[in-house]
Symmetry: C2
């Protein structure tokens, strides 16, 4: 088997973010589930956009953020996801290409527009996401090419793919190809409400097909319907070769078959917007994994990348993150 | 004459910004004039966008930034500028409305798309702007309504309006209406290259029709073709009732007929991106002016608003700027 030319290929919902500050009362008034990702219709999207404040637009999508972060760290990344051929689709394509990610999924030429996610950031730096999936519903198994999946050490997928039916099929096809070629399969659980919606299928995936799992505390507790993090940790160790579980300010816990590492958060002067924290943690961790770093260093690199992203608005690195690769060899210090 | 219901109405090129970091070598390689605003064609815009890095999109345009800042400070602002009815036009309209600015200029329904400005931010926080004017060339005298201009204490216009011919005519019409109704006319010189392009007309405007002038050091020197700031200061005092001249890190100098104030910059932990510094200075200053603050306090409020904008990416306030109104009553301290 030839050596893969990509470290990782990500599959996800290709989305452009619209990010604005909001008061907590705005979330209450519009019945928005704080901290969650909620799917909304085109009409709801339009009404919420009209109501929200001055924003910035930036290409987004969980796995796309991870691939952009991965490429900016210096790794070789690819991406599969569906936009329409429209203005926001052009923005998405530009940014992922500009970061150096290989991206050649054919755009949808008709139907609904490129997906957008309306993100409200409250004073506590929490983000509340409202996604109109648009063209993402057009992603399907035909967009998954065997040569691309076989050409990456790791295939990384977001749990959000379970929402559109075609994307779920694409996910299963990609997982099968990766396994057949001896590549690794990695999954991020994405969102605890998403886990609620698709618990049985995601649990089957985690128990039988995922090598490297990413989840935050809420998501892993939801997956196993538990209330105790330590018990969830015990269960996940039986299923996945590697799991990286993030816990917000409490840092992360990384487990392999015979090891457990408790990783602190990176020091951050001021947390501005937590959008993309999990995505960039995964980027750092996967960079370490595909470059044969030990698991503790993978976790530290994840923490450093996440620390950069939460220090400013939006889910795209603003600082030179490649310097974190060396920094991750040393303990994180304040 | 009825009391005006608006403090200020701004007229400008309605633009959406695309902002990305760049190395100095990128500017050299693409022959871009660092720190300046350069007009580019649709083709040049496409080629430069392809070459530039991961960006964020945000509604922009100098006078529009000023009006948004003015409204977020708590003032009553209106805006006149031309977008097309397209995705970027919707973004522009959303943001200016969301800030609370009255904006009802009819969009162009055909022709070129909404204007965009490709902004490269280098490590020294300097911004280099490349503007494709698009639908801005459709702005003309018909877009200037007498009732709107008569309804604002101050009509504020950007020097960039001299670039598209129709906008220049709109500018002259607005100035005439304001004068006829006893309202104040304010001008920002915008850019020293823009002053070079239109020196004679801008100088006539400053000498005969402008009550409140905003300019940075390069612009005022270019206007009078001088090399000595102090001499430019002496000349401008003969022409304008009020001039606020900004000098980057050296702060600003505010002159009235019988007074001169030297205002320091506001303390900023880290200068990230100077895009919008002049626009927000004008917002703060005009808020003070239209609320009968003394000139020194107008300058301090300008400095505080500018200080917020340069501490992060983009030309839209992220912090609660309304608190600066009270803060401007006191000396700026580090």
């Amino acid at each position: 088997m030839a050596q893969p030319s990509l470290d990782v290929v990500g599959i996800g919902n290709a989305i452009v973010d619209v990010i604005a500050r909001a008061e907590d009362s705005f979330l209450t008034d519009h019945a928005l589930a704080k901290g969650a990702m909620t799917l909304i219709s085109a009409e709801q999207s339009e009404a919420l956009y009209d109501a929200m404040g001055v924003g910035i637009e930036a290409s987004g999508g969980s796995a796309a953020n991870t691939m952009i972060g991965f490429a900016l760290l210096g790794g070789a990344a690819g991406y599969i996801g569906k936009v329409k051929k429209d203005t926001l689709g052009d923005v998405f394509r530009h940014d992922i290409n500009a970061a150096g990610v290989r991206y050649d999924t054919a755009p949808a030429s008709d139907g609904t527009p490129t997906a957008r996610c309306l993100i409200l950031v409250t004073d506590d730096a929490q983000r509340t996401m409202n996604t109109y999936l648009g063209a993402c519903i057009e992603l399907g198994p035909d967009d998954i090419r065997e040569d691309v999946i076989a050409d990456a050490k790791v295939t990384y997928m977001e749990g959000y793919l379970w929402d559109p039916e075609g994307a779920k099929q694409a996910f299963r096809k990609a997982q099968g190809i990766a396994a057949a070629h001896g590549r690794r399969v990695s999954l991020s659980l994405s969102d605890s409400f998403c886990v609620d919606r698709h618990r049985d299928e995601l649990r089957d995936m985690v128990e039988n097909h995922v090598d490297i799992l990413f989840a935050n505390e809420d998501e892993i507790l939801s997956l196993y319907q538990l209330t105790d993090f330590d018990e969830a940790l015990r269960q996940v160790r039986q299923h996945c070769e590697i799991a990286a579980l993030t816990r917000g300010k409490q840092g992360s816990v990384v487990v392999g078959r015979d090891e457990v590492h408790v990783i602190d958060v990176a020091p951050v002067a001021r947390v501005t917007d937590t959008t993309g924290a999990g995505d960039l943690y995964a980027a750092g961790f996967l960079y370490g994994f595909t470059h044969d770093f030990d698991l503790a260093r993978c976790g530290r690199l994840g923490a450093l990348a996440a620390g950069e992203i939460i220090s400013h608005f939006g889910a795209k690195p603003e600082a030179d993150v490649a310097r974190f690769v060396d920094a991750s060899a040393r303990p994180l210090s304040g």
